[in-house]
Symmetry: C2
């Protein structure tokens, strides 16, 4: 008996019309049956936000030839939740791929990233999931290397017997293909954003603020995602969503006598 064709759920946070999701669909469509559910507008930086106070809209769209696609008015996590309940209706996809994000999601960015939060929501549901991000923010970025990486990682994941809750964060460097050194398994670098707000005055004289920031890597390890990307590797960080700090838990039980 022939093996059933895998179901591949595709999503992102840049919105359904972003070139990155089109590149991702092209990268994985040879590996199974693709279903797309993505936000109807850009949702960068939405983290793991869900929509509580307002209802959501979900419409089918015909913009990817021969592929079932839907867009949703909510956040990336809303898209995943709606896909599960209203589109897949209990059918569990074999994998969820998110991206390809226009911009980096390495290190601490995993926490702010809608791309990764959509993938994490799928992983919480027991679907092996992966987010892809490209270190190029431009709309007309060249996704050819990304597509190869996304194809290979997705294929490998489908072939592997990965446990429930598996979640990978893959970032791809902006380098010519001949300089690209391959995929490296990494840990999340200990880095952060140092922000300053640009203070302006509106026409009525009242202050308003634009978020601006500079990325600071405090981590000198050579096993981090930031190091890998700086050295022309793509990075793959396995991600978990049990946020318990077990070392601190043991220490507190001792120190606080609880």
């Amino acid at each position: 008996m022939a093996k059933k064709e895998p179901i591949i759920l595709v999503t992102n946070d840049d919105g359904i019309t972003a070139p990155g999701i089109r590149a991702l669909i092209e990268a994985v469509k040879g590996l199974g049956k693709v279903i797309v559910v993505a936000p109807d507008s850009p949702q960068s930086g939405k983290g793991h936000a869900i929509t509580i106070g307002v209802p959501l809209r979900l419409y089918q769209v015909d913009i990817f030839e021969g592929i079932e696609a839907w867009h949703c008015s909510g956040t990336p996590v809303d898209c995943l939740k709606l896909a599960r309940d209203k589109i897949l209706q209990g059918v569990k996809p074999d994998i969820c791929v998110s991206g390809i994000n226009h911009g980096a999601n390495h290190s601490i960015n995993v926490i702010y990233s809608g791309t990764m939060s959509a993938a994490m929501e799928a992983a919480i549901e027991g679907i092996p999931s992966v987010g892809f991000s490209f270190l190029d923010y431009s709309y007309d970025a060249d996704f050819s290397l990304c597509k190869e990486v996304a194809h290979d990682v997705t294929k490998k994941m489908l072939e592997s017997n990965l446990p429930d809750g598996t979640l990978f964060n893959v970032n791809i460097p902006q380098v010519p293909k001949e300089r690209y050194k391959g995929l490296k398994i990494c840990r999340q670098a200990n880095a952060k954003w140092v922000e300053e707000f640009d203070e302006r005055r509106d026409p009525h004289g009242k202050k308003y603020y634009w978020l601006t920031g500079e990325f600071k890597n405090r981590d000198t390890g050579t096993d981090t995602d930031v190091w890998a990307l700086d050295n022309d590797f793509a990075s793959l960080v396995p991600v978990q969503f049990d946020l318990t700090d077990y070392k601190m838990k043991d220490k507190l039980q001792q120190d606080w006598n609880l």
Copy 2:
């Protein structure tokens, strides 16, 4: 020389007018100089969202007697970022306390919670931080037990020499004080939400969806936050923001030969 009075940054996700933040201010104001920065509207479920595409507003308000307070038009994480840059201007608070949330933030809820994301943003900045949540969603909840717990935990944290990045998630059960059994150090329970969307039709006949959900605990451990709360303890889970799954990292390096 007298020890400098600690600076206590107070925030939440239910908004600056929520009874929970007033209770938290009352709980901690005897422990140091309190500065409040909170959203100007309810921001539940906003996770670690930041505001990128629109500018932010920040205004000082006089609603807590004798206490400097500001409200901000953004998410809980935006509040923290603005507080750091525009209010504290480089002065590092001794602690950040977030809440008291009207509703539970145990187990997987830590990922969706604006209360915890605000505290996590402070922790990323190196400020010892804690989020408090009460298992009572009602506006007129009785916060008296919560205030005692919040006071005691905050005091203990200020007295302890906690490392950079310390972050605690404290949930308080809805029990009469005589039944309350004390604080228990826990791990995050492996639980999730099973959602169904309520499908309706607008006056134009088009579908829209409201998120509804049921909480499912899959974890039978007696060392979890959910177990503690079910057994009349308050739970304290130490939280980290290095999301690397180190076990999976080792396994992949072997299995994938990378």
